[in-house]
């Protein structure tokens, strides 16, 4: 289905998913009781989130465990029905699971495998080629290209159960991309991988996106993934959308504080209290180095105060590292 160039590929409006979860106390008595009468609790996994994504964008979908990322991804892929709200991907309503839609999307889940366990990956790929009715030549070309990009020639003929996690993840990516989807949903594609394979996967996704303009929505707990791949992030927490915008704007908007790093021209003794600006908090202290946390607005005056009161040889003001910002948001649950 052709979509207008300026209309979004993914369009989400007030999407909501409520799970009904059986609830019971621990112990034999409670479990017997629950066989007769079960009580349920409504869990709001996703609450009225809205966003849209343009063709070719790579968007990072971030948030703590249980934030509702995977649920949203699965609704957009068509695996789950939403409780309320609307979504369109490539002009289709995902959960209708129309064949024309399913041929153009793919999902790769870091903690689930679509490979057949006891046979070499090549056989699984063959089955997928048949399921998506790919012409033989096209199948061959795509496979060769993906295998080349991922550098995994040697694993094609080993049984999947004998592959390492990293090798298997490469297979999952190939399996997900054989039919050349226009939209790719990636749920923690680097989960549990070592640093160099993580990088390899990132490089691959970056190249693939540039080459084919595939639209990617990616979740990951590794901020390195998000920083390397996604200029734009969507942050959700407790099922609610907290932030949607550029990654580098996240810290500015989310962290109400800045870090002031100081180097003094003398060592810091623990006994003598330093003369610090009001509301400044020491978060790190080593020899003559000191890191303070100050309110964002108070940063300039705090710097002036410090330069005035202390023998400073070096002073920098910076945004806190993205991990620290995320940690704070995750713990406090608001922006």
């Amino acid at each position: 289905m052709p979509s207008l160039s300026n209309s979004p590929v993914i369009f989400v409006r007030n999407l909501t998913k409520t799970y009904r979860v059986p609830e019971r106390e621990s112990g034999l008595g409670a479990s017997l009781k629950s066989m007769v009468r079960r009580s349920y609790q409504d869990v709001k996994a996703v609450q009225e989130i809205s966003f849209s994504i343009q063709a070719g964008e790579m968007v990072g979908f971030i948030g703590p465990n249980g934030a509702g990322k995977t649920t949203t991804l699965k609704m957009l892929a068509g695996i789950l029905y939403p409780s309320e709200g609307a979504a369109q991907v490539l002009g289709h309503i995902p959960w209708k699971r129309e064949t024309a839609y399913l041929r153009r999307i793919s999902i790769v889940l870091g903690n689930k495998s679509q490979m057949l366990w006891d046979i070499p990956p090549l056989d699984t790929f063959g089955v997928l080629g048949e399921i998506y009715s790919l012409p033989a030549a096209e199948y061959r070309n795509t496979l060769d290209e993906l295998v080349d990009l991922l550098g995994m020639e040697e694993v094609l003929k080993k049984p999947v159960r004998n592959l390492s996690l990293g090798e298997r993840m490469k297979c999952e990516l190939v399996a997900g991309l054989l039919h050349r989807p226009a939209v790719l949903f990636l749920d923690e594609p680097t989960l549990g991988l070592d640093i160099s394979i993580q990088r390899r996967v990132r490089d691959f996704l970056c190249q693939y996106n540039q080459r084919y303009g595939v639209t990617v929505l990616l979740t990951s707990h590794y901020m390195a993934d998000v920083m390397a791949l996604c200029p734009r992030v969507i942050l959700i927490h407790h099922g609610k959308l907290l932030y949607d915008g550029r990654l580098d704007g996240l810290a500015q908007q989310l962290a109400p504080f800045k870090l002031v790093r100081l180097t003094l021209n003398h060592g810091i003794s623990t006994t003598n209290a330093l003369d610090l600006p009001p509301n400044a908090e020491i978060i790190e202290q080593e020899n003559s180095h000191l890191t303070l946390r100050v309110d964002r607005e108070a940063a300039p005056s705090a710097a002036a105060y410090l330069l005035d009161k202390l023998a400073v040889t070096d002073l920098t003001i910076e945004d806190p590292p993205i991990e620290a910002v995320m940690d704070q948001v995750y713990q406090e649950g608001n922006v």
């Binding site: 799970y19 995977t70 699965k74 892929a77 068509g78 695996i79 789950l80 029905y81 699971r97 064949t99 024309a100 399913l102 041929r103 999307i105 793919s106 999902i107 889940l109 903690n111 689930k112 495998s113 679509q114 057949l116 006891d118 046979i119 056989d123 699984t124 063959g126 089955v127 048949e130 399921i131 998506y132 009715s133 049984p159 749920d187």
Partner: protein
């Protein structure tokens, strides 16, 4: 055509999967033979004492067992393993791997019914057919072409009925993942080893109308001995069509329930 090619592919892949566990071959062989021996022995012991049982002769009763073994073999060839991959222990509903299956651009019921093959079951199929041939030869009357045709038709309908029941039982798993509903069915299906006529009236009714496993084996056996009316043939066809339709609708409704195991 695409679906036939896919079945071909599934068979090949399943073969490769199977040969990677070679020890299973011998276990399967033993299991098949034990299954055959206990079945035949049961019938043999009874008919060592009497000539007919409620109108069923030794050969006729054996033919019911033959149908039972043949249909079980067909089940174990692909319907059973395929549905097991969906709803069995470690099945996709339980593990959440149905996520991938749901996103295939094709009939999910087709995938759920045809994607796993257990080629060992071909041996069971031979044994079942062997019992059938032996029973047919031992019968008093000669086999006519029309009897054989009726037999093959009713066997096909019987397999259809079994498929519908299995599909419906598998779909139940969407309401309670991890509950092995199929085990209940297996217990009941054991009753289909013997002619429906041997059972008391209420059991006969239950095995015809509630869980129609009796129909699956008894009617083809009746067709083979030549005592099958056109009404029964039609009954068996209509039942197969209705059950397959209902089971498919039920299966589709069940898929809608799938909540996907948590990430």
């Amino acid at each position: 055509m695409r679906y036939l090619r896919l079945i071909d592919r599934f068979i090949k892949v399943s073969f490769v999967e199977e040969v990677s566990y070679r020890a299973n071959f011998w276990i399967n062989l033993l299991h098949s033979l034990l299954n055959l021996i206990t079945g035949v022995l049961g019938v043999y012991v009874i008919f060592g004492q009497i000539d007919t049982l409620r109108g069923w002769s030794y050969a006729e009763t054996l033919s019911v067992l033959g149908v039972y073994l043949t249909i079980q073999a067909l089940r174990n060839l692909f319907i059973g393993p395929s549905l097991d991959a969906l709803a069995g222990m470690d099945g996709e509903v339980w593990s959440g791997n149905l996520d991938f299956t749901l996103l295939r651009p094709m009939s999910i019921q087709f995938l759920a019914s045809f994607r796993r093959w257990r080629l060992f079951a071909l041996f069971d199929l031979l044994l079942g057919l062997g019992v059938l041939v032996y029973a047919a030869i031992s019968m008093d009357q000669a086999l006519s072409i029309s009897n054989i045709a009726m037999f093959l038709l009713t066997l096909l309908f019987g397999a259809g009925i079994l498929y519908a029941i299995l599909l419906a039982f598998s779909a139940l798993v969407f309401w309670s993942p991890g509950v092995m509903f199929m085990w209940i069915f297996d217990g009941v299906f054991q009753l289909a080893r013997y002619p429906l006529g041997l059972y008391p009236g209420w059991v006969r009714l239950a095995l015809t109308w509630i869980i129609p496993v009796g129909v699956i084996t008894t009617i083809p056996a009746q067709a083979l001995r030549g005592g099958l009316s056109m009404e029964r043939l039609a009954f068996s066809l209509v039942m197969a069509v209705i059950l397959i339709l209902c089971a498919s609708i039920f299966f589709r409704a069940a898929l809608r329930r799938y909540a996907s195991a948590s990430s």
